[in-house]
Amino acid sequence: MNDLFSLTLVTGLLNTMMVLATPFLFAALGETFSQNSGVVNLGVDGIMLLSAFFAFYAVLITGSLILGILAAVITGVVMGLMMSVVSITLKAEQGVSGIGLQMFGLGMSSLLFKVLVGTVKTVSGFPTLSIPLLSRIPILGPILFQHSILVYIAFLLVPLSWWILERSTWGLVIKAVGQNPAAADSRGINVDRVRYLCVILGAVLAGLAGASLSISSLNLFQDNLTSGQGFIAVALVYFGGWSPVGVMWGALLFSMANSFQLWMQVLGVPVPASLANMLPYILTVVALTLSGSRRKTPAALNKPFIRGEA
């Protein structure tokens, strides 16, 4: 291979990684908020699907990308509310309600797609937004600064989320509610309200994750468009140890591995495709195993709060 080609390879590899990582970042950062407040939302995939559909549909009929994003956000709010009412107010088992939400999102998005759209159509989604000057930096420019706006937003959310969780009063409250709701409650904090807000914020970010697929990177909708990416996003929260930066490394590692295995196949490395397809999954587990990260689970994760019951 000549230098030029290996340069193409590196640029292509990393550029694809950034694109693939975007929906994971949105969804996993959202889930990070939700889980830090003590709620496991396994319904992320369903929220992504339904939001992806509504974002797509809004753009399809109105042509307005802003309305597309708005549709995704509203869908996120509504689905987040559904999860919250069931899991927080009604104290349901979070694993089950999340799976219910996922089934609902999957079914509803396919149904609406079939009834309202009928067949695969494309829309013109967010264009590539090359950042002036920066995008012309050799090598780095094409990797980092030639993406659609949602990619930038996803990556900017990482430091923002970090700041909120680690440096703001909100973060302190959120984490206290996830670690020891009774303690937060005895300080006059409304535990359920904090959880509602976190779950809804998480769902809105999951909604943006869906929109980033349907109106930014793929510009279309199809049944089960996410193909289980929401579940991977949940897994990445564990990978990242409930920290936004950790989640980002997870999303990058997973996407990098996927990008890499595609290159392996394109370059004809003699490995069966199915085994190459396993790479991201194996690598994620192995990396976590070797990294020895020991971040503790939010102690009240998956436990509804009932005042007076320890």
Partner: protein
């Protein structure tokens, strides 16, 4: 609904009742949709809903569910039950003997289990693949052609096999590189796969049809990258980029089966869609300016396969 419309009319006017069971949605722009639209065409050609009653069950990726559906339809007295998925074979084999007056058609496979009320059908996808390959070989400038798909089985496998042979005929130096994503629904990964091919220099892409939706976006962003389709005519998805598609046309086969059942023959025959019997067609994009010599070569190859002078291994 629609099971009661024909009541009150004479026996001769009773509609022919068809039920179809499909592994994915009727809107999958691929395997299931190809059968569903063929059935719709048949219905329209034969005189609409009063002549042909048509019901469907979709997303039956679980075999026991499909088996239940098949039996249910048979019990309800449907005349023809199309089990449109190779995985339904054993269910058809088991259920068909209990309903000797019902015709069953299942594909894609070639096996009728020796039962005289079971038809089998499949498509010789390698033939259309070969034609697509011949055109692609002549059109590539970079000499690099990318193939994407979910997994390397079934008609995806045979299509690509034919395609590679076609490319080798017109452009022996071209490389055909393949990526498989391992998932039928992961469009994002499919798009990334297409993008990767393009980064590696591919100027032509093809793949089994689930991958087209993922690849189009990537291809459109890159500009001058062309797409060859299979299973259904994909021109409408991207009129700029699609050169030609291999189209499965089940209509003729279905009409033949219906005609046979009316003479009391409920099965025992295997249909293989080929270019020769018209089951396979090459749908050229009318808006795509295909160079005349390329078109001529393609026609020549189609003629060769039709006449049997060219054989393509699956």
């Amino acid at each position: 609904g629609g099971s009661s419309e024909a009541s009150g009319t004479t026996k001769a006017a009773e509609p022919f009742r068809i039920a179809v069971i499909m592994p994915s949605a009727t809107t999958d722009t691929a395997f299931s949709q190809s059968m569903w639209s063929a059935l719709k065409t048949v219905q329209a050609d034969m005189g609409g809903e009063s002549a042909v009653e048509l019901v469907y069950t979709e997303n039956m990726f679980k075999v026991p569910d499909a088996a239940a559906a098949i039996r249910d339809y048979a019990t309800q007295g449907y005349n023809l039950i199309v089990a449109h998925g190779s995985q339904y074979g054993s269910s058809v084999e088991e259920i068909a003997p209990d309903f000797p007056d019902t015709a069953f058609a299942w594909g894609t496979d070639v096996n009728t289990f020796g039962l005289d009320n079971v038809y089998a059908y499949t498509a010789a996808a390698e033939q259309g693949g070969y034609v697509n390959g011949v055109i692609a070989g002549m059109m590539t400038k970079s000499g690099i052609i990318g193939v994407t798909g979910p997994i390397d089985v079934g008609d995806a496998h045979t299509y690509i096999s034919g395609f590679s042979q076609g490319v080798a005929l017109t452009n022996p130096k071209a490389t055909v590189s393949k990526t498989w994503t391992g998932s039928f629904s992961d469009v994002a990964l499919m798009a990334a796969a297409a993008q990767t091919h393009i980064s590696a220099g591919a100027d032509i892409l093809t793949g089994s049809s689930q991958s087209v939706v993922g690849s189009i976006g990537a291809a459109e962003k890159a500009g001058a990258v062309y797409w060859f389709g299979t299973q259904a005519d994909q021109t409408s998805l991207s009129p700029k980029l699609v050169v030609a598609s291999q189209v499965y046309d089940w209509v003729a086969m279905l009409k033949e089966i219906i005609a046979a059942t009316e003479t009391g023959v409920y099965g025992g025959k295997t249909y293989i869609l080929t270019l020769a019997n018209g089951g396979l067609k090459i749908g050229f994009n009318p808006d795509f300016a295909l160079p005349a010599d390329v078109k001529a070569k393609a026609d020549e190859v189609i003629k060769g396969i039709t006449s049997g002078s060219i054989t393509v291994a699956p």
